[in-house]
């Protein structure tokens, strides 16, 4: 906490040096996990190409329903290939200090517009100079936490009709807050139940929309 303040107080922070793991094995894939992105884009493009080619075209308008998708497919193939070349030429090792950037806008451009200092630019890029990976990390992303939340949402989708809104939504709330670091398991149960019940009440009474009651239907 105090380090943040010290840096703010004047001394230029060296927030830009990525924290490298001491002995990460250097394979071809280091810093190139980004191949996932062009891989997915290519998969999407191939799917679109196949579906466009086998489409049952109705009507005889020219240009028809395959015209625009063809343009989109060409665009996808082109950018995927360029991106693959970029990743091969410039691998990007995972850098925990440079995470929350906003790629919607070029930080360079915004920095120029604001005639920002180096510290200002590092802030525009959304750097977190103090971010560190835990000691014995294996992956950059915390897949355990992400997995817990994905599983909770999937479970919610599976069980909603059967078990009903109140229990499902409470369970979802509870799992997500636990996964994100809440320590008070019992207290969380009451918060989750209260939250889910309030939504059910507001919906059924106020807006006239029906949320599934599940097996509690008769009791409530």
């Amino acid at each position: 906490m105090s380090t943040l303040n010290d840096q703010e107080a004047g001394t230029l922070p060296d927030g830009t040096s990525p924290v490298q793991p001491a002995a990460a094995p250097q394979s071809f894939w280091t810093g190139r996990s980004e191949f996932v992105v062009p891989g997915l884009i290519l998969a999407l493009a191939i799917f679109l190409t196949y579906q466009t080619a086998t489409m049952e075209v109705m009507g005889s308008s020219v240009p028809g329903p395959q015209f625009f998708p063809t343009i989109v497919c060409v665009l996808l193939y082109l950018v995927a290939i360029v991106h693959i070349v970029q990743i091969i030429r410039h691998p990007q090792p995972a850098d925990p200090t440079n995470d929350s950037s906003n790629p919607d806008f070029s930080a360079e451009m915004l920095g120029d517009l604001a005639s920002a200092t180096d510290r200002g630019r590092s802030k525009i890029e959304g750097r977190t100079p103090d971010a560190k990976l835990p000691q014995n990390w294996k992956t950059y992303s915390d897949w355990k936490t992400v997995g817990a939340i994905v599983a909770a949402v999937a479970g919610f989708a599976l069980l909603l009709k059967l078990v009903g809104w109140i229990l499902c939504a409470s369970a979802l709330f509870w799992v997500v807050s636990r996964a994100l670091g809440s320590k008070r398991a019992i207290f969380d149960i009451s918060i989750a139940l209260l939250f889910a019940s309030l939504i059910q009440l507001a919906f059924n009474a106020g807006l006239g929309l029906n949320l599934p009651g599940g097996f509690l239907e008769g009791l409530l």
Binding site: M1, L4, D14, S17, E34, V36, L44, F47, Q51, E56, G59, V62, G64, P65, F68, P69, V72, L76, V79, V82, D95, P96, S100, N102, P103, D104, M109, L113, S115, G120, R121, I124, E125, T128, P134, S141, D142, W143, T145, A148, I149, V150, A152, A154, F156, A157, L158, L160, A169, V176, S177, R178, A179, L180, G181, I191, A192, F203, L209, N210
Partner: protein, 514 residues
């Protein structure tokens, strides 16, 4: 002065007790969403869309208007107090705002921001009232080729000119266009990319896409980081925000300059308020330097907060004008507002003023009312709002997760939508992890169908002659500006790459990411 009469009638519609309640509710929700870090107005409107579907459209839009402006009122709070701007539109006002907060002027900074947002929004909405009819007249002269040119302009400006990487921007654009093509093709009736799932024949729901990308995707992103990032330190504001006469005198020119930067950017599809806020901040900084102002950059200057905040809301105001009169969304938030109109079966653009004139003028009137309510809410209760920052992050994101599934399920009570939501959220997570911009996806999903229809219409009329797309002065001007902007930003990217390479060869690895 026909507009004034219409606006007066609009006020009569908007000033009913029920509608005032909706404005108030929207303003409270909007401010809350703005204050809470990581949430924006676009996500809030998307979550509200299915829930408000049972309301009558005027009431719903009056509430959305409150949310739309409210998000921009609140977003500077976390930047000023925590030094972590909640939204990228608040980064520029964070610089001086947080400096003021650390020097015990947090309340004054919050008041300057709120007042700036009010002035920017007020002037912009006034401009919209007077110029909307002119824009409408302009737009009625637009044919298919012109609309296609506008859509292409929006696509490329947002994905390539302002974004971090041209390649990644175009990828996001392609993903958005692909999502937009799912469903039955309007002109021909052909079923496309639905995998024979009947629920997809109407296309992917924009609510599912927005909530998946912006809300649940953000939760997954936070989850991948929360146990690794350091916590931010919080400055407590004390006292009620109040501006003294000399503060107002000092800030007034900055508020007006900021507004002047913001107004034109609402009409240009450049992705929203980021560019004008930084431009306004940069101008204040240069002026302070020339003036020899020692406050700026040291103890925090009130002007450095005033200008960007006014610019942000001025942009939002004229963006609403461009949306209503031209049907052109210039930012992701405006795109969601467009989706909201479509949900109610209305198409923003010149015809909207003819067909739903009452609603449009009531909406414009409620924008004014919303601004006044927001100013009171933010000046009187700023300290109270700041308490929202104490909500622990795990409860905040658990709440967002539950609201996401609620909103998506409420669209059509279908569990299939929930699975689509999870899929889109995972896409959103991967996009955040690898720095792919999200705004181009939203713009493409919403403008994609329009672009396709107008392109095909233009080519059908010209019997396949492609030059018809660039045959009118409007299209030539639009493509000309776009080309110039693309060349300029391409040159910038190349320049940066060249500099990176020289840094690389000097072994100065730190600067690569800078």
């Amino acid at each position: 002065m026909e507009q004034l009469n219409l606006l007066f009638e609009g006020f009569q519609h908007a000033l009913t007790p029920m509608n005032l309640l909706w404005v108030l509710l929207g303003a409270i929700l909007g401010t809350a969403v703005g204050v809470l870090p990581g949430l924006g107005s676009s996500m809030a409107v998307a979550l509200l869309l299915p829930i408000t579907f049972s309301l009558d459209p005027t009431a719903a839009f009056i509430m959305f208007a409150g949310v739309y402006y409210g998000g921009l009122f609140g977003d500077s709070t976390s930047g000023i107090l925590l030094n972590t701007p909640g939204n990228s539109s608040a980064i520029a006002s964070t610089f001086e705002g947080h400096r003021m907060a650390r020097n015990g002027l947090a309340a004054k900074a919050l008041a300057t921001a709120a007042m700036g947002a009010f002035i920017g929004g007020l002037l912009a909405t006034t401009v919209v009232v007077f110029f909307a009819p002119t824009l409408v007249k302009l737009a009625t002269a637009f044919g298919p080729a012109e609309y296609f040119a506008l859509a292409v302009f929006a696509f490329l400006a947002i994905s390539s000119v302002v974004s971090e990487s041209i390649v990644k921007g175009l990828m996001s654009l392609g993903v958005g266009l692909a999502l937009a093509m799912v469903g039955v093709d309007g002109p021909s009736g052909t079923v496309r990319y639905t995998l024979d799932i009947p629920q997809l024949f109407d296309g992917m729901s924009i609510v599912v896409i927005t909530v998946g990308l912006l809300a649940l995707g953000e939760v997954l992103h936070i989850a991948s980081r929360i146990h690794r990032d350091p916590a931010a330190e919080r400055v407590k504001p004390n006292g009620r925000p109040r501006l003294r006469k000399h503060d107002i005198k000092k800030a007034m020119p900055a508020w007006l300059r900021g507004t002047a930067f913001g107004l034109p950017f609402g009409i240009i599809p450049a992705g929203g308020s980021e560019v004008p806020t930084f431009l306004a901040y940069g101008t204040e900084k240069r002026l302070a330097k020339r003036r020899g102002d020692i406050e700026f950059g040291q103890i925090g200057s009130i002007r450095g907060v005033a200008a960007p905040e006014a610019a942000a809301n001025a942009t939002a105001g004229t963006a609403m004008g461009a949306l209503l009169a031209l049907g052109l969304p210039t930012s992701a938030t405006a795109a969601i507002m467009l989706a909201a109109f479509q949900q109610y079966g209305m198409q923003p653009g010149p015809l909207l003023f003819e067909r739903s004139g009452d609603m449009v003028w009531a909406l414009l009137a409620s924008l004014f009312i919303g601004l006044v309510i927001l100013l009171i809410l933010n000046m009187q209760f700023a300290v109270l709002w700041a308490k929202l920052l104490m909500v622990p992050r795990h409860y905040l994101y658990a709440g967002i997760t539950v609201f996401s599934v609620l909103g998506v399920y409420a669209i059509s009570s279908s569990t299939l939508d929930l699975w689509v939501l999870l899929g889109i959220a995972l896409i959103g997570f991967v996009m955040r992890r690898y720095d792919l911009p999200l705004a181009p996806v939203l713009i493409a999903v919403i403008l994609g169908p329009l672009a396709e229809t107008e392109l095909r219409r233009a080519l059908t009329v010209s019997e396949g002659d492609v030059t018809a797309l660039v045959s009118s002065p409007t299209t030539i001007i639009l493509y000309g500006i776009l080309l110039a902007a693309l060349l300029f930003s391409g040159a910038k990217h190349l320049h940066r790459r060249a500099r990176q390479r020289t840094d690389d060869s000097e072994g100065n690895k730190e600067l690569i990411d800078a």
